[in-house]
Amino acid sequence: MDVREKLNILSAAAKYDVSCSSSGSRRSAPPSGLGDACPAGICHTWSSDGRCVSLLKILLSNACKYDCAYCVNRRSNDVPRATFTPKEVIDLTLEFYRRNYIEGLFLSSAVVGSPDATMERLVRVAKELRRVHRFGGYIHLKSIPGASEALLHEAGLYADRTSVNIEVPSERSLTYLAPEKNYGSVYGPMNYFAERKIEYGGSRGRYTPNFLPAGQSTQMIVGASGESDFQILTLSAGFYKQQRLKRVYFSGYVPVNADKRLPALTTKPPLVREHRLYQADWLMRFYKFDYDEILDAKHPNLDLNLDPKAGWALRHPEFFPVDLQTADYEMILRVPGIGVKSAQLIVSSRRYCKIRLETLKKMGVVLKRAKYFIYHPDIPAGVRQFYPEMIRPLLIAPAKSQQLDLFSPPETLALPAPAPAMPAAGRLPLALPAQPRLLAAG
């Protein structure tokens, strides 16, 4: 089998891994070496599904010994199998890098033999790239659940980022869909890296090696099992806080296997839900929202018609309207239609001049949404009256009429008898803030 065939098989096998970012690491080119890493990350191209391609994302091998229901590479699937030699991966990486096709390498693998043997092969590629070829580009290594700590430590020394996928947002579903896996084996490497990173980061001296400069990420499949959005956000907030993860990715389930434990093959991937989850994720990472503000036990799922920020604003009319001239930066960030850049612009310019409506528009504020939530002398008083049930339909763009489908497949649930969704003990929101005056209709 030649490299071209292997590349086709092993990149197609890796495409369901969402993570492709190359950010978070500042690495200068080693002396007489090739490549560096840019902390902002660089996208090199976008594939036809609109996802950014910045790394050469491949599996070292897809001959997996596990049989996870959701995975295209599972043992019981009849797909062509291939395995790269380390030299082939290194050649591809360096040649692609020289041509500026990629920002670095994303190397994952199916579990072949023992977890240790698999991890050892991944680490060997990274080590050879760094040591022999003096490669300074970005390297993302998958850590294999169950691999020994010595190998993980070595991976941390050569890679910029590692990731281990939580796969499904609850342990119950994970053991149901992937009998050979459990949460313990996933949390093992994650916690190990989190602890080592604190160790290395604590007292950085001149000779402290760079340990996993871009941190860790993880990924979970959305829509293959019955978890609520609130459970998913609770889980990812925990990852950000406890394991100090840099990113949590969501992947809307694309049916690849016919399996009675999973949604039917004709199910469309839940793209809108995935999008809303990412919006909620952004709110947590850049807009200073807590997970239990975005959703709570009473509202366990995100509104598919409305972005989560507008949803929050409609549930909390007591905070609005906001006076942009005097409000805190944090509060301005919470106004629907105002993003991070516009909020910064507003804060840095308002001390020098009054902010006018047309200035807001030129700054990039979406007045169509923001006008209901801000106080401004030029906005007619009628608009300023804040009644969530009136504003909600105005915020939702009129949906295109859709042809009804007579034969749409019935919805399938992953679990035979889904237990009532209860967030883990101790993570329950203590108390809701002030009771909203008017509850959003619907």
Partner: protein, 254 residues
Amino acid sequence: MSICISYDSTFDGFLSAVFEIYSQHLDVESFVPDRDAGAADDLFQQRFRVEANEDSAMRLRRAIVNYAGEDVLNLLETAFLSEEAGIEMKILAFLRKLFTGDDPNYGKNPASPEMLPLYKLAGSVRHEAGGMLGMVRFSKAPGDFYVAKIEPKYDILLLMESHFSNRFADGNWVIYDAKRRYALLHDKTGKCRVVDVPDDAALVNAINTDGYTRLWQDYYESIAIKERENPKLLRRCLPVRYWKNLPERQAARF
């Protein structure tokens, strides 16, 4: 009769022109950079040629830094790289108001009516420069020489210099801006220089499709998830005007 200033299309040339406007009390209506020199003259305007003068440009730079700070000078220079029609008059309007000194905080306010468009424009120039870092595609010519051709909307080649000199410090490579016909030439010793390319036939011919280009095209095809295809999103992230110089998109089109 109003005056139309022609200058050599560089930022220093523009600053020298502003210097002349102040020292000779000119009433200027428009600027014509040399790259637009072929356009028809306006009958009712008088042409006035200003040569770039390092000294006066330097004085003006210092004045801008004194009045508004280093960042603003940088921002004006970046916005100028957009080569947008009328950008000179916009910068001039900002400078006029800045130098009146009526409002000591004028230079610090990013949302003043003169500053905001420049601020936004500089933002899009930096955005394109940042995006282009990933979209330069080298192809390997004989003798370990890497050639890339780009056609950016804004004049951003020099903004990318440090990134590529750091990354490919020991390589022979050239990035050619086919729209503006000049190139960045880097040699093995680490020296980087700007060269004009009056005849680009040799450069363009050096761009080829080799085995690794085909592997890259294959990779690009197989990494996409068919069930999630989203042409609208693709066009938003990767505007069609860049496809011409991306081997992976060329293969996708045919």
